[in-house]
Amino acid sequence: MPSTIEAAVRVQTKRQPLPPRERLEQIFDVRGLTATYGSKPALKDVSMEVYKNLVTAIIGPSGCGKSTYIRCLNRMNDLVPGFRQEGTIRYHGQDIAAKDVDPVAVRRTIGMVFQRPNPFPKSIYDNVAWGLKVLGMKDDLDDRVERALTQAALWDEVKDRLKASGLSLSGGQQQRLCIARAIAVQPDVILMDEPASALDPIATQAIEQLMHELKSEYSFVIVTHNMQQAARVADMTAFFSISRGGEGERWGELIEYDSTERIFTAPSDQRTEDYVTGRFG
């Protein structure tokens, strides 16, 4: 069993050098995304592309609109009363921000893992199997559940008590169960909104490891508070920050988006440098 630090180093060195950006395949192409809650602007004019089979991290101080941004990517904000957005979000070329797009279909291919583990009050097995059943993936149910739990590195810990409640697991196990639930339905992209912020370092490491192992099959977009985490797991990193206007107005903005390497070693914007070196935020 390697120590956490060794494992972190191993994880870090596992990162392949990125090919030039134009050779990467885009999954999201976000243009001019502006989001408001009621009359309060949350995000202004964000444009960035997200690439396939990479881990893309969104970092930035509290209130910079990171969560708002990733919740736009699968229309999760539709559920918030008073939410409005402008701009286009092209997903494999199709604008999923358009009014005539079915948000349920969007979320079907773009899954999400939330900040706090939120397993269903069902058994461990049913937590994974329920989504499969509802979405009509009923063949080989047992196999699919086992595969998802294995991919989420939880199978060995729960295989003898699949009938136990999902809520009986520890926080870290619950979050891995939520990841298993998300990957079981075979989405194309998995959005993670600070998935490790409520977890201890061991559980955090397990989840980071898992992203590494799964990114050949899925693409990840992860919001994180934790810069070390971004540095460890992400191929690309976007730095968001808060901008202020007159009359106390404040909104989130994309400051810089580049390979994680560059964001952490040679950022081109002073604000990014201040943030990653810990002078701000």
């Binding site: 979320r107 939330f114 809520l167």
Partner: protein, 299 residues
């Protein structure tokens, strides 16, 4: 440290003494009012039990009333109990699905403006005097179709609806948003999420609200007087006929000159009271249980 004059703390002080006296007496007053509130229930239960217990026997539940019976004819209130069961049962069957659907719409689907509007309407509906609801149903159904158990059920259902809807809205609001998000994030449609994930969490709360509502309307008398009070011979279970009910029977028996009738009124009152007490306690128990369950999932 030593420079603090501690003796000041112990010096006799008129203001302090007065404050203590006022505090003590206010505490006593608060205790007394609480005790009186509890005593009311105690006195009611005690006096009803003392006068009614003697007349609670098997005949009360098995033999119907006999109108204009000569003295010595054995009679009970079976027709009233049957009528109450039928009428309250049908009322609950009408109000329960309706109230739950209203609550689901209001809490899960309605825009914020409609949400508060409907809540206000439910409160107003809850405040409408029962006799007004009875009279409304009288004009709507009884005129033209005559009195019937169904008309009475409808009136009681109108009274029950806001109670069921409000209590269901309250438990739906307790279901954590993260649970809805978990399901929606999988690409599960909203109706399915509501049905399979949200509603099962609220069963305990809905049971509680319904039980309390049943307890409340089981003793309702005013709307029944105008919708279902004509007594027929024998025990009937047919809601298309006018049915006798427990509260109306109590009302009528108290107006009788026969002491035996008064005794039966007390007995019926005792049975009704025990039913309400029992359902309220059951509702309390269900509520605590479901809240504990929700707390576990909410975290």
């Amino acid at each position: 440290m030593s420079s603090v004059d501690l003796s000041a703390l112990q010096r006799p002080n008129d203001r302090l003494r007065r404050r203590r006296v006022v505090n003590r007496s206010m505490e006593l007053l608060a205790w007394l009012t609480a005790a009186i509130a509890v005593a009311f229930l105690g006195v009611i239960v005690w006096s009803v039990a003392r006068r009614g217990a003697g007349a609670v026997d098997l005949d009360l539940f098995t033999k119907p009333q006999v109108p204009y019976a000569p003295a010595g004819v054995e009679q009970g209130l079976a027709n009233a109990f049957a009528g109450s069961l039928v009428i309250v049962g049908i009322a609950a069957a009408m109000a329960l699905p309706f109230g739950i659907l209203v609550a689901i719409y209001v809490n899960e689907f309605a825009p914020r403006a409609i949400r508060s509007g409907v809540s206000l309407v439910l409160d107003v509906l809850n405040g409408i005097p029962a006799i007004v609801v009875g009279f409304f149903v009288y004009g709507l159904i009884v005129v033209g179709h005559g009195q019937s158990g169904l008309a009475a059920s409808f009136a009681l259902a109108v009274l029950m609806l806001p109670l069921v809807a409000r209590s269901t809205i309250e438990v739906l609001a307790l279901v954590p948003a993260s649970l809805r998000e978990a399901s929606l994030g999988l690409g599960v449609p909203r109706w399915r999420t509501t049905l399979a994930i949200v509603l099962p969490q609220t069963v305990g709360g809905i049971v509680t609200g319904t039980t309390l509502a049943v307890a409340r309307i089981a003793g309702e008398t005013a709307p029944l007087l105008v919708t279902s009070s004509l007594v027929t011979n024998g025990t009937s279970w047919n809601p298309l006929h006018a049915l006798q009910t427990v509260p109306v029977a109590i009302f009528e028996l108290t107006e009788s000159y026969e002491p035996a009738d008064h005794a039966r009124a007390w007995a019926a009152a005792l049975v009704l009271l025990l039913f309400v007490l029992f359902t309220s306690f059951a509702a309390r128990w269900a509520a605590t249980r479901s809240r504990r369950k929700l707390a576990r999932t909410g975290r």
